[in-house]
Amino acid sequence: MSEHKGQTLSWQIVNGAIELTLHREPCNEIGSLMLEELETFVRALPGLMNDAHALILHSSQAAGFSAGADLRELYQRSQGMEKAAAAGGVRDFLERIHAVMNTIDAFPLTTIAAVHGVTFGGGFELALVCDIIIADRMARFCFPELRLGLIPGFGGIPRLKRDLGNAVVRDLLLTGRSFNVMKAQQIGLVSQIAAEGEALRVARATASQVGKFDRATAAAAKKFVKPIPYEELKREIDIFCDLYARPAVEEGLRKFVENEGPQPYLP
């Protein structure tokens, strides 16, 4: 399937680059349907590889790349369930999303996240699996999970630790603050900044450049410089599930879901 249109995402091959477009209203919240479609996408990747030299992830939603996990679904699914069943469901979800993230992280072709606007939580973690992050001038990044009594659960901490200095990771994680693209470039997260609305165009130009080189050499270079921290990723799931079992988390999720004020995304 070189082209596919799903309910939350679509993909096609454009000028030798696989383009995965996220398009779930309002801001690509990652819930069970998007997870299923991401799984379908990674299963299709081996077949797409033959006709492509790069993979671009981007969003067609105006609000941004992705606001992260679908917290409303997470909260609503836990209601009326036994604690153990709810916890089991969360672990299953995490193991599945980790499998998706790990597959993209290890994908032999060069991967590029073209992000704009809100790139929060699980959306930030999805960008972090890519080899190169190209950000629109208005992109904004955040790991807000501690506000809910949780840690990032889609592989964020091990991958941030892989890519950035530990002191910066602590600041971003422990304050839960959002930060702009200038900061993101300063700390080494974002490698290229695009003008407003131009991230995909810049990503396509970068993918075109990547395509000039020998595929096997590029894959070997990537494997050499980008180790995947599998043990820490597994440990992250365990810590997340331990924290999720506490009553404070349900209360934090309830507050977020029921918040109808203008500031739910502000700390």
């Binding site: 809100v118 904004r140 839960g176 203008p262 995304y265």
Partner: protein, 80 residues
């Protein structure tokens, strides 16, 4: 360093331009969520534009509970 009044004026100009609100409809003590008709995601967009404009970093936790332009200007002023 610019005065707080100058900073406030620049914030009002930027907000009016970006959110397409007549500049003379904005006053320093307005609740910007209401006056501009924005939600928290749009407030983050405004914050990003202000950070770029003033070339500062303003952590969003400093905006907790802030909803008027004057206090916003004071927060920005403290980072200039």
């Amino acid at each position: 360093m610019p005065t707080t009044e100058h900073t406030l004026d620049e914030i009002l100009n930027l907000a009016a331009t970006h959110f397409k609100v007549p500049r003379d409809k904005l006053t320093p003590d307005d609740d910007f969520f209401k006056t501009l008709g924005i939600d928290s995601l749009q407030a983050l967009d405004l914050l990003t534009r202000l950070e770029h404009h003033f070339r500062i970093e303003l952590p969003d936790y400093e905006l907790q509970g802030v909803s008027d332009f004057r206090t916003l200007a004071e927060r920005i002023q403290s980072r200039l």
